[in-house]
Amino acid sequence: DAGVTQSPTHLIKTRGQQVTLRCSPKSGHDTVSWYQQALGQGPQFIFQYYEEEERQRGNFPDRFSGHQFPNYSSELNVNALLLGDSALYLCASNLFGTGGGEEEKLFFGSGTQLSVL
């Protein structure tokens, strides 16, 4: 059973460019969340997708957008990249409703390391 898979593993972009990161959830999961982990910091919640809609959003600018497809996979898009967007981007998946104390059912991918030069 494949876990959460993310692609690519590493990415180098320049300031002002746009980037798309991809995530396939664990089999049986229908909800995808994205986190940004900057160097020396803990993961910060960006947003969550369920039924192809953004359900929750953290404190991130509109340059960060996402999409969820009918097969539950998801994309994270970042426009007008800034140096400060350099980070490890983590995708996590779960079955909708398994939160609030059931976080052992939330599974994380290995992440995409984005470097903005």
Binding site: Q41, F45, Q56, G101
Partner: protein, 115 residues
């Protein structure tokens, strides 16, 4: 707003010695508390959680954590450290009965176990 603090960036311990990784929290009401571990090139892995009940919770790989409400702490412990425990550890919190509220993580503590 809820938050967690991990006061140590790095903890060094000799193999076989007990280890403690510290975490304090701030949340309105009662918290759900968690510990995650991150190995190089790996995603976050769930270690253990505190919801209610016994203040000492046991988790994966021999780790345990003690919830202390008066000190608002949730320190991670292990009686005998292994070199393979070397990794990045994150404490996280969400408020009790918060439904689908996302996790709020601390900045992490790097544990180095020396043979």
């Amino acid at each position: 707003a809820q938050s967690v603090a991990q006061p140590e960036d790095q903890v060094n311990v000799a193999e076989g010695n007990p280890l403690t990784v510290k975490c304090t929290y701030s949340v309105s009401g009662n918290p759900y508390l968690f510990w995650y571990v991150q190995y190089p090139n790996r995603g976050l892995q769930f270690l253990l959680k505190y919801i209610t009940g016994d203040n000492l919770v046991k988790g994966s790989y021999g780790f345990e954590a003690e919830f202390n409400k008066s000190q608002t702490s949730f320190h991670l412990k292990k009686p005998s450290a292994l070199v393979s425990d070397s990794a990045l550890y994150f404490c996280a919190v969400i408020p009790l009965n918060s439904g689908n509220t996302p996790l709020v993580f601390g900045k992490g503590t790097r544990l180095s176990v020396i043979a």
